[in-house]
């Protein structure tokens, strides 16, 4: 009897102790939820929620609380929201970030201030190189990598004269630098357009027509990509000059581009049909949940949550053990939609890049399929500027 009471009490103490120990994991997610780019942020949020569903809404024994913040596509607002997450909500992880310029503006409000920062999309050169930090991770890629793969593809296709167009901001410059790094032919023309204000590309399309290149390569994320493809076709250039892209055609724009993008080629680290068990489950459940194919933004966001989960479970929910979480994350020991990968010294993934093509699936939906692997275990060119080693 006495023992019984003691036993019950000790179980009670244990339970209470467990609850007190397992602090709630607080994750901030800064993305764009309103305006034309709001669709991208919604896609990322859907993927985060799906990842949490797959985890049973818990990381180990800890509860998870998400804080979604809208950067409204503006660096100043993104920085403000980031500071709110760090100072007021006291989150353990600040994640999300679609846009390189928003990430660059927000970085110093997180890094060195306590929380970990994980970019779910943007990968500007500086944060992979000189500004790399032990508290900064990426579950996407470095901006230059995808277009470096495109440069290789263009070489293999025997393209001699290339015309490049991209928006004039941090990511656009990185993408152009990437393709220029590997492409061996001539770049006969290059236009950097005002971003995000310029949506009418008539002047640039006229220049392309006059320059008569063998191929055009563009980087236009979000709505700009849709407009570019439309205007390219309206100008009568589709079918005359081959168009290659990166981060321009995705699962959000395909339902609107339809046949305008059919057969279009692009490079990427991932595709909905990438053959591994994690990705198959992710894509199937995502389609069940939303009725859409996931975008690469969604895939990266799913990985962000899984990476955090691997860190939290490794330290048994003890959120003050930052060193333990960092060591766990560096192992990249989590079920990633891209398959197993390693982190470089700068905390950016060393991963494969594929050539993808737009096709119609069995139900008539437009999606992309992998044609071939361009790079195996590719590391970004900025890693060597990063002083960190572990």
């Amino acid at each position: 009897m006495r023992l019984g009471i003691l036993g019950t009490l000790s179980i009670g103490v244990l339970l209470v102790g467990q609850v007190a120990l397992a602090e709630t994991v607080k994750i901030g997610f800064v993305t764009t939820l309103t305006g034309g780019a709001g669709a991208i942020g919604n896609d990322m949020r859907d993927a985060v929620e799906l990842a949490l569903d797959h985890l049973g809404r818990k990381m180990g024994n800890s509860d998870v609380k998400m804080f979604y913040e809208d950067d409204t596509f503006k660096p100043a607002v993104g920085k403000q929201k980031t500071e709110k997450l760090v100072k007021k909500d006291k989150v353990h992880f600040v994640t999300g970030y679609i846009w390189s310029h928003v990430l660059m503006a927000s970085r110093n409000s997180v890094v060195g201030k306590g929380p970990f920062m994980i970019t779910s999309n943007a990968g500007p050169g500086p944060v992979a190189g000189k500004l790399c930090h032990e508290d900064f991770f990426s579950t996407s890629w470095q901006n230059d990598q995808t277009t470096m793969a495109m440069g290789e593809v263009l070489n293999q296709l025997g393209i001699k004269n290339l015309y490049i167009m991209a928006p004039n901001y941090a990511a656009g410059k990185g993408m152009v630098a990437g393709v220029s790094r590997t492409f061996k032919g001539n770049i006969v023309g290059k236009d950097m357009t005002k971003f995000p204000a310029q949506l009418d590309f008539s002047a640039e399309l006229a220049k392309i027509r006059a320059a008569k290149p063998d191929a055009v390569f563009v980087f236009y994320p979000g709505k700009h990509g849709i407009q570019f493809f439309k205007q390219f076709s309206q100008a009568g250039l589709k079918g005359t000059i081959p168009l290659y892209s990166a981060f321009t055609v995705d699962s959000l724009s395909l339902p609107r581009l339809k046949d305008l993008a059919e057969g279009s080629l692009m490079t990427q680290f991932w595709a909905p049909d990438l053959d591994n068990a994690v990705n198959k489950r992710f894509v199937a459940d995502y389609r069940k949940k939303t009725g859409r194919y996931p975008t690469f933004y969604a895939a990266q966001s799913y990985d962000t949550i899984m990476l955090i989960n691997s860190a939290v479970t490794a330290v048994g929910g003890n959120m003050s053990n930052k060193d333990g979480m960092r060591t766990a994350m560096r192992k990249a020991n989590f079920p990633s939609v891209r398959g197993p990968f390693k982190y470089g010294n700068n905390h950016f993934p060393i991963q494969n890049f594929y050539l993808r093509k737009v096709i119609k699936d069995a139900e008539g939906n437009y999606t992309t399929t992998i044609i071939k692997t361009v790079y195996t275990d590719h590391q970004d060119p900025y890693a060597k500027d990063c002083k960190m080693s572990w």
Partner: protein, 307 residues
């Protein structure tokens, strides 16, 4: 210098200028006659695009949808004028700026509630979706030619309306001396509602023509509103003729500058400098023009008489 390229860029500049004119004509009338600063003019442009996208989807015909969208936009503008703006005429300009800025936020949320956060598409009929061969082997997108044609036609009709009809006489009188027009027994409320509706219809027309080229999305009118304000400042507030000339001027300078500045700068500087500086400088060109005009002709190029 490539002459066909220059010609094509001139056409592009014209086409952009025509769109700006449609917006600027309404804005300059509203400002000149009603003395109302309407920042929500860009929202009417957005509504035009959304109405057109919806009607085109319903009717399945581009032409029918476009024709329905214009009166819908006019009616929408008149309702907005009667409900919200009528109370602002006696207030000062700062109050008007604040109130119409509030309207921008209201319309953006209104559109989000009804049409959702993802933009719409205006599909073009097959005939307009390609490009046509003009003289000298220049290929030009068919729809952009239509924009130029419609814009010139509307400009001509506006000219007739303003200079040849009784209504136009009242509009001109209103622009020159509003108090006197009221004193002469003209129903100024009705005139205001009509002028605002006319402005809304023109903005809607611009929106529905911009829709197939640019995206139909929330906030699409905000960027172009700023350029439109530049146009009416250059042209002279209240002057339709000024709006026409200034819109074409701004359209041409913006497009041709964007197109040739990198090459021109490349003559004087290294390629790297030209590549970085050209986009920045070309986006400043129209503001430089405005600054020059304000310095030498503060009333604008064609100030309305009596203003």
């Amino acid at each position: 210098m490539n002459w066909t390229l220059l010609l094509e860029q001139t056409l592009n500049g014209f086409q952009f200028g025509i769109l700006l004119f449609l917006l600027a004509a309404g804005l300059t009338l509203i400002f000149g006659i009603m003395d109302l600063i309407n920042l929500a003019h860009g929202s009417l442009y957005m509504m035009g695009a959304y109405f057109a996208a919806t009607f085109i989807k319903w009717t399945g015909s581009f032409l029918l949808g476009a024709i329905l969208a214009i009166p819908a936009c006019m009616a929408f503008g008149m309702i907005v004028e009667m409900i919200a703006l009528r109370t602002l005429y006696t207030r000062n300009h700062l109050d008007q700026v604040l109130a119409t800025f509030g309207l921008i936020l209201f319309f953006n949320e209104f559109v989000r509630l009804i049409w959702g956060p993802i933009g719409l598409d205006i599909p073009l009929p097959e005939v307009l979706n390609g490009s046509v061969e003009l003289f000298l082997g220049i290929r030009y997108p068919a729809f952009r030619l239509v924009i130029i044609a419609v814009g010139i036609l509307v400009a001509f009709l506006l000219y007739l309306l303003v200079s040849r009809t009784k209504l136009g006489m009242l509009i001109r009188a209103g622009a020159s001396n509003r108090k006197m027009v009221g004193a002469l027994g003209v129903n100024i409320n009705l005139l205001y509602t009509f002028v605002f509706g006319l402005g809304a219809a023109l903005a809607g027309l611009a929106g529905l023509m911009a829709g197939p080229i640019m995206t139909v999305e929330i906030g699409m009118g905000e960027g172009i509103l700023i350029i439109t304000l530049v146009v009416i400042v250059i042209g002279g507030v209240g002057s339709i003729k000024g709006a026409f000339v200034a819109a074409l001027l701004v359209g041409l300078i913006d497009t041709v500058g964007r197109s040739f500045l990198p090459d021109i700068l490349g003559i004087f500087f290294s390629n790297d400098v030209a590549d970085t500086a050209a986009p920045a400088i070309s986006s400043m060109l129209i503001y430089l023009l405005m600054a020059l005009i304000l310095a030498f002709k503060p009333q604008g190029l064609f100030p309305p008489r009596g203003a």
